[in-house]
């Protein structure tokens, strides 16, 4: 659908402007549709799970029929399916994610407290990965040697195949126990102090981030190097900085940026494991605890947050990809 409209638009007088508007509307519509499904899936999870969630929520303790009915209402499991769904949806839109069984704290509050830690770790990991991946991909692409790119491919393959949690434990063993460079547990919220706790988990995340990013960047750099304007740049003798940024990186970055927004999902999975291993008070560790305790409102709330985060990230990624390289939407 989007393709047909963008080709139509390409033939009008001001293609870029219209294409951009259509792109935003199309992507936004899609993001809304996907968010809707995300909510439906989470709604269904609790309803379709085997066993009676009300009974599980009440635990093994004795309870009366009144307790049972109260819990049923509390979980939003009273009434028929359709009213349940609208009830659930209207609560969500008001920012009400329910309350945790165990602590009685509103789920939205739990997310508000713990999400920043997780986001900090994700952003820090991505920055670190870019700092490593961009020069790496540039060096491999410019070397043009078949041996170099062969070794690059083999090493990135191997790095991707090493499980993050194993790498994290090895890092903790080496940097934590032997060198004493990284604390094994704990966290501080403030900016420079938190780096002490975050650098090792972020570095471990790079073990899977750098191969993916540098590979995509490498192959788009190879494509860019074939373009005539690169040669023009060399002939005109533009400054080094300008050559690397405007002539090489900027035309090549769009696929990497779009990929980056999709990687957020993979990153969240990795972050959960890092938070458990390094005892960081992030939202992923909360999820693991909640799953263990069968604290369904917390599980639902956190999973929903992650789902919406991914939808939002890919929306932003598509737009950024367009800004970096306007050919993306028009071709």
């Amino acid at each position: 659908m989007r393709n047909s409209s963008s080709t139509e638009v390409a033939s009008t007088i001001d293609p870029n402007k219209n294409a951009f508007r259509n792109l935003i509307i199309g992507r936004f519509g899609r993001a809304i549709a996907v968010s809707f499904w995300v909510m439906v899936i989470i709604f269904l999870m609790l309803r379709l799970s085997p066993g009676d969630p009300v009974r599980i929520a009440l635990g093994d303790a004795d309870y009366t029929d009144a307790d049972f009915n109260n819990m049923k209402i509390k979980l939003g499991l009273d009434g028929n399916f359709i009213t349940q769904f609208f009830h659930y949806l209207s609560n969500l839109l008001q920012g009400d994610l329910g309350t945790a069984y165990l602590s009685g704290i509103p789920v939205a509050e739990i997310i508000k407290v713990h999400l920043p830690v997780t986001l900090t770790l994700i952003v820090f990991s991505i920055l670190l990965a870019l700092i490593i991946a961009i020069p790496l991909a540039l060096a491999v692409a410019l070397s043009k040697g078949t041996t170099v790119s062969y070794i690059f491919r083999a090493l990135t393959s191997i790095s991707l195949a090493i499980p993050g949690f194993f790498l994290a434990l090895m890092g903790l063993l080496y940097f934590g126990s032997i060198l004493n460079w990284a604390p094994a547990a704990g966290y501080q919220e403030e900016f420079p102090a938190n780096l002490r706790y975050l650098w090792l988990p972020a570095l471990v995340n790079c073990g899977s981030l750098v191969p993916v990013l540098s590979r995509v960047l490498h192959s788009s750099l190879i494509d860019t190097l074939d373009q005539e304007f690169v040669e023009t740049g060399v002939i005109r003798g533009v400054s080094k900085v300008r050559f690397y940024w405007s002539y090489l990186l900027r035309p090549s970055l769009a696929p990497t940026v779009v990929l980056l927004s999709y990687i957020i999902g993979v990153m969240i999975g990795g972050t959960i494991i890092m938070e458990s291993i390094f005892s960081l008070p992030g939202i992923g560790r909360e999820l693991i605890t909640a799953v263990g305790a069968k604290d369904y409102p917390v599980v639902q709330g956190i999973v929903l947050t992650f789902g919406l985060l991914v939808v939002f990230a890919s929306f932003i990624g598509d737009l950024l990809g367009y800004f970096l390289d306007r050919r993306v939407t028009l071709s």
């Binding site: 809707f36 083999a154 393959s157 693991i288």
Partner: protein
């Protein structure tokens, strides 16, 4: 990457590259399977029976040492080969089959409503991070290998369906499919004999890289405590147990971890080799 306009010499080199990956990958995998078959048989230790001195460093009797309960790690690492590989294999094959068929049907169907409805459902499922979705399902159905498999199947078909749908749209318009339609072949015949084989070459290539994710994912879930029940030997669970005592002893963590890496790298080589082969046989 450009095979089409390179000389014959360069082409032969490409084949050699792909072959190296395939031979190395399958070799590593075969060695692992053989070891998983032979070592537990000839080992004098029971993989699940405690009783040896706990946390014995690797020595000539216990090549990989013993764990906290006094079990021989060497036997346990190789005893776990089939449960780890088997679980992951099932977790790849079922979504691959289901996703390919659903995706292909969507790609060739003319009904726009169903297409966009199922299409956004696919996007909705894909919006969840793999581990998050699986953990969420497990929280409702309880831990264990069957739940992990159920969750992976519920989730991963959507990724294959997306790949298959994109490919099926292209294949559906190819001349030979048009031709078989003109010849009056039945719809199922065109679907299963002409379209799906062409679509599946793409999804199978994707399945290989997915296999690595699933192997690591299954182990990660066990590591987080959602997988097999003790005392069954499984790499993720062994690493979980080892991590408790990692400051005292490195071997209960490192050896199952290395086995996991070995498997991952073997599959990565196979995937890389297959991709080279596919690129060589149909250069863009």
């Amino acid at each position: 990457m450009k095979v089409s306009n390179s000389s014959a010499g360069a082409k032969r080199k490409y084949r050699r590259e792909g072959t190296f990956g395939l031979v190395a990958g399958f070799g590593m995998l075969l060695l692992l399977l053989l070891a998983g078959f032979i070592f537990p048989l000839i080992s004098k230790y029971d993989p699940n029976q405690p009783g040896l001195t706990p946390l014995l460093a690797p020595n000539m009797e216990n090549y990989f040492g013993t764990d906290i309960l006094g079990r021989d790690i060497f036997t346990r690492v190789f005893d776990a080969v089939f449960i780890d590989l088997g679980t992951s294999l099932v977790g790849v094959v079922i979504p691959l089959t289901v996703g390919t068929i659903i995706g292909t049907l969507l790609g060739i169907s003319k009904r726009k409503r169903i297409n966009s409805l199922v299409g956004s459902l696919i996007d909705g499922i894909n919006a969840f991070p793999f581990l998050i979705f699986v953990i969420a399902i497990i929280s409702f159905v309880g831990p264990g290998i069957p739940s992990i498999l159920l969750a992976i199947c519920l989730m991963n078909w959507a990724r294959y369906a997306r790949v298959a749908r994109t490919r099926a749209v292209v294949v559906n318009d190819l001349a030979y499919v048009e031709a078989s339609r003109t010849l009056g072949y039945s719809k199922p015949r065109i679907l299963f004999k002409h379209i799906i084989p062409n679509v599946s070459s793409e999804t199978v290539a994707y399945a290989l890289s997915d296999f690595i994710i699933v192997i690591i994912g299954v182990a990660a879930l066990s590591f987080l405590g959602f997988g097999v029940n003790p005392p069954q030997a499984e790499w993720g669970l062994m690493i979980r147990d080892g991590a408790q005592v990692i400051t005292l002893a490195w071997w209960p963590t490192v050896f199952p971890g290395l086995a996991l890496c070995w498997t991952g790298i073997a599959v990565a080589f196979i995937a890389e080799g297959t991709n080279r082969r596919l690129k060589e046989s149909n250069p863009k």
